[in-house]
Amino acid sequence: MAFPSLSPTARAFEPGDWPVRTYEALSGAEVRIRYGNKRTGAKLSLSYDNITDTQAQEFLTHYIDTQGTFIAFNVPAAIRTGWTGASNAFDPGSTGALYRYAQAPQVTAVRPGVSTVQVELVGVV
């Protein structure tokens, strides 16, 4: 099963960074060494407020299908709903990077048949 193709209520994105180690001399001068050429560690937080329990179940099913935080995956275009910038703005990293779950989705019951889901994803190479 693919990541649910639902429009989120809210979205927060951090693009991550390249693997850089920073050294600071006693003089205050900074030396940075890049150990790789791929951006990783992008963070994508999505919330889906007041969706049906059936829709919330899709996230739980996908989390199980990806064996929790183990298997990485692509996310659908629906997560970009409302974004008028470039379609690759929320890519998880450099070419070849994918998202995986940073933690289990949080499903909160709102009322019978209605739930709110919070998803945290992290980009990995």
Partner: protein, 141 residues
């Protein structure tokens, strides 16, 4: 035939029996709405949440020839020595009559507040408020 309902057409029943000397009743209904607006929407959308009902009534503190005091019956649902329990739920029917035709809302409710007093030159009146529990059992209003 058209009809404008007035206070003369109103009545309040407790467990199916009309209460004496009711001067007014009110019923309020509310619906909680849950927002389902998503990114990209230009207008807000909602899905229904939980309903709730509450109301009030005003009765004269009156004892009938048979010794029945309807206001006292409702007052004792909250003014009591041993606390309120689920056995204090009352079945109220709020009615507007049109001859033999009745327009009812029947609800189960807790009496949540009462106010009663005695004033020189005035009748004693009991003001009660109630909170409906569960869905209305009859709606023909």
């Amino acid at each position: 035939m058209s009809k404008i309902f007035t206070g003369r057409d109103g009545s309040l029943l407790l467990s199916g029996q009309a209460l004496a000397k009711v001067s007014n009743w009110t019923l309020q209904g509310e619906l909680e709405t849950l927002e389902t607006t998503t990114l990209g929407d230009s207008q807000r959308t909602y899905t229904p949440g939980i309903q709730g009902f509450n109301g009030s009534a005003s009765l004269l503190y009156y004892k009938s020839d048979a010794g029945v005091n309807d206001a006292g019956t409702l007052l004792r649902k909250i003014i009591k020595t041993d606390g309120v329990s689920t056995s204090d739920i009352v079945s109220l029917t709020l009615r507007l009559s049109d001859g033999a035709t009745t327009n009812d809302v029947t609800i189960n409710a807790y009496i949540t507040s009462v106010s009663i007093g005695a004033t020189v030159g005035d009748v004693s009146r009991a003001e009660i408020s109630f909170q409906v529990t569960g869905a209305p059992t009859t709606v023909t209003i």
